[in-house]
Amino acid sequence: MSNRPTPAIASPEREPPLARGRRRRRRSSPSGPARDRIGYLFLAPWFAGMALFTVGPILASLYLSFTEYTLLKPPEWLGLDNYRQMLADPRLHKSLGVTFVYVSVSVPVQLVLALALALLLNRGVRGLSFYRSVYYLPSLLAGSVSVAILWRQIFGKDGLVNQLLAMAGIEGVSWVAHPDFALGTLIVLNAWTFGAPMVIFLAGLRQIPHSYYEAAEVDGAGPVSRFFRITLPLLTPIIFFNLVLQLIGAFQSFTQAFVISGGRGGPSDATLLYTLYLYERGFGSFDMGYASAMAWVLLAVIAVLTGLNFLFAKRWVFYGN
């Protein structure tokens, strides 16, 4: 509507300043290719960083995955040997198993928690912003070393959990160091970070028009059927988004397992997440070639799972008409 004559309804007083402003802007800001160039120039530092610190290393690791590279001597070409070796590596298979259990339990638990809390907060709780911040905090903190250390203390032999159990007369084990429970403590820690998906769920809930609920209520729908017929279907894009993000994130979990197990993935490999084993092979055993190959397999696994996710999404994600 920029160059059209003044519409009849617009007040003549407001028109001149607007037009002046537009002209001024046109004079000062270049258009077309020149403007693009400036845009790219501003992006240049980011592109440089991306090429130098992300794309470059990624390509290097692809090359290294076909070599034997011990860090201290130049890499030697091996072809597919690293990948072949992975097929016969029992610890790798163990770590894959541990990772799949970790991901397939912690992600659903975390999402259900997040959705439940979001629904609760969406009912118009007083002091919503306070609760939102409080529940979001763990998401910011949980990746940190200090929280992992705290976790080790809470679930350790003389930790908080066992002190509570002792009051009930039960003598607990060291939960972080028992092969049957250690992974569970990590899953709980990850589930505790439900704040980030919760905030996204909350935003999604806010977007569902109130009129739908009103109409449903008029038709006699109870709270349960309102949830399953309106909230859940309209929230599916948000659920899908959270699922994809959390799945990718969970596969790459490292810090907590590293700190809690003292970098070993113990006891007897019970918390040996894939990334932890990758790190151990790379930086513990100087097997950078093998570690690079592992990284690429992890990428492939995450890519395939995300692809499947998108494929199945057509069946259950509802984007409106």
């Binding site: 000062s28 270049p30 020149a34 160039r37 400036i38 120039l41 501003f42 240049a44 530092p45 440089a48 011990t70 860090l71 201290l72 001597k73 080790r152 350790g156 032999k157 084990v173 060291s174 939960w175 972080v176 160091a177 028992h178 092969p179 809690i260 197990s261 003292g262 970098g263 070993r264 113990g266 006891p267 007897s268 490999d269 151990e280 930086f283 513990g284 055993s285 100087f286 097997d287 950078m288």
Partner: protein, 428 residues
């Protein structure tokens, strides 16, 4: 398209250039032209204080050189070092120990010390050889050390059990004493932490004429020896002489002296390196003593050995090898440094330094010196240092030991598993 965007472009570019050049600053020389060395080591806060004093003393004597120390605890030290070496940013002076000098030396990361001027004539040959591989001296020892039994006499007293005689006690005596203690100690206090550690397996197998590794870099320990060892540790665990499996697994992740059962006053005995006595005593807050490991007197051959507690080596890529050598020389050959470090990194390997500090040694250091002196004529043959890849052995042992303690593998299966895994690690 007037001049303004161009000026903007120039500004942006200038910003980028500034950022890039800030990254490329040379680290080796500070503004006043002084050479800056980096020194990497592991340890606790007490060692950090002492080390900083040594650095200050060195800098006072060598005004042109500044030394920056950086340290972590033992578990993360080698992870970090590997990363730094890979990035070409390893410290100029690197502290190593055990099989690591050979690991790094074999991989070309360490300087051949014959290329710099560094005196080693006053250093005992047994310890010096721990830093020599394939005829090349890659490192010099900080001091001499031995695996020992640390005893907390107060805990023995409390239980009313007599402290065993280190010169004569056998493994059967050890088992008997441990079980006796466990019956008389309060809950939460143990005869000892689970004793399985790779250096103890070295001592135990050497007593039987074996060792962890053969001289040509293969696995030497037999399945029978391992089965006997685990049969014993399981008995101790079942008798309550050592903690339950999950507590042991937790203790493994906390290697600092203050975190051990002994350091917390919760154990009567602990197998550890003799130079840990000072730190352990301080942590436990009660006098501790050293005796030899069990089974030395009735063994085929003595299993204990004198070992360089730590090895100072120089980064092969250091830009200032001569200055680095000067610093290492100060660390091992100067009585001034010795008076600060005392016996924290083992009893000084340099005989002059050792005499020089005799008068200032505290109770624990004197005990360590006496222990080493007493052991020297009785020690077994020099230890065969593990080949490249053998630095994985302690981790493999931790894993297999957990399998045994949690009852997931029988000792016989675990023994076969351990031998196979170590074999794979060292042939790579």
């Amino acid at each position: 398209m007037s001049r303004r965007p161009r000026r903007l472009a120039a500004l942006c570019l200038a910003g980028v250039m500034l950022a890039v050049s800030a990254c490329g600053g040379g680290p080796s020389e500070s503004e006043d032209g002084a050479v800056e060395l980096r020194f990497g080591w592991w340890g606790n806060n007490d060692r950090a204080d002492a080390t900083q004093k040594v650095i200050d003393a060195f800098q006072a004597k060598n005004p042109g050189i500044t030394v920056k120390g950086s340290y972590t605890d033992f578990n993360s030290y080698f992870d970090r070092l590997a990363t730094e070496v890979a990035a070409g940013r390893a410290p100029d002076v690197i502290t190593l120990g055990g099989a690591y000098p050979r690991e790094y030396g074999d991989r070309g990361a360490l300087l051949d010390l014959s290329k710099v001027s560094l005196k080693t004539d006053k250093i005992g040959t047994a310890a010096l050889d721990n830093g020599k591989f394939g005829g090349v001296q890659y490192g010099v020892p900080s001091g001499v050390n031995a695996i020992a039994t640390v005893i907390n006499p107060a805990v023995f007293d409390k239980a009313g059990v007599e402290v065993p005689d280190g010169d004569t006690w056998t493994w059967d005596d050890f088992k008997r004493v441990s079980t006796e203690l466990s019956g008389k100690l309060p809950k939460g206090t143990f005869a000892l932490a689970d004793p399985t550690r790779s250096d103890m397996l070295d001592a135990y197998s050497r007593q039987r004429g074996e060792a962890l590794y053969t001289a040509d870099g293969k696995v030497a320990i037999s399945a029978k020896t391992l089965v006997d060892w685990w049969t014993m540790t399981l008995e101790l665990r079942d008798a309550g002489a050592s903690p339950p499996a999950s507590q042991t697994a937790e203790l493994i992740t906390q290697p600092a002296p203050e975190q051990t059962l002994m350091g917390r006053g919760l154990a009567a005995m602990q197998f550890d390196w003799s130079n840990q006595l000072t730190a352990l005593t301080k942590a436990a807050g009660t006098p501790l003593k050293l005796i030899r490991v069990p089974g030395e007197s009735d063994a085929t051959q003595p299993g204990m050995w004198l070992q360089a507690s730590q090895i100072y080596s120089i980064n092969a890529r250091s830009e200032h090898p001569e200055e680095a050598a000067k610093f290492v020389d100060f660390l091992v050959n100067s009585a001034d440094a010795g008076k600060i470090i005392l016996a924290d990194r083992g009893i000084p390997a340099n005989s002059d330094v050792r005499e020089g500090i005799a008068s200032v040694l505290g109770e624990e250091e004197k005990a360590q010196a006496e222990f080493i002196d007493d052991l020297t004529p009785k020690a077994g043959p020099p230890l065969v240092i593990g080949p490249a890849g053998s630095t994985d052995t302690p981790k493999i042992l931790d894993r297999v030991n957990a399998e045994v303690l949690f009852g997931r593998q029988k000792p016989a299966e675990a023994a076969a598993d351990f031998i196979q895994q170590v074999g794979t690690a060292i042939q790579q």
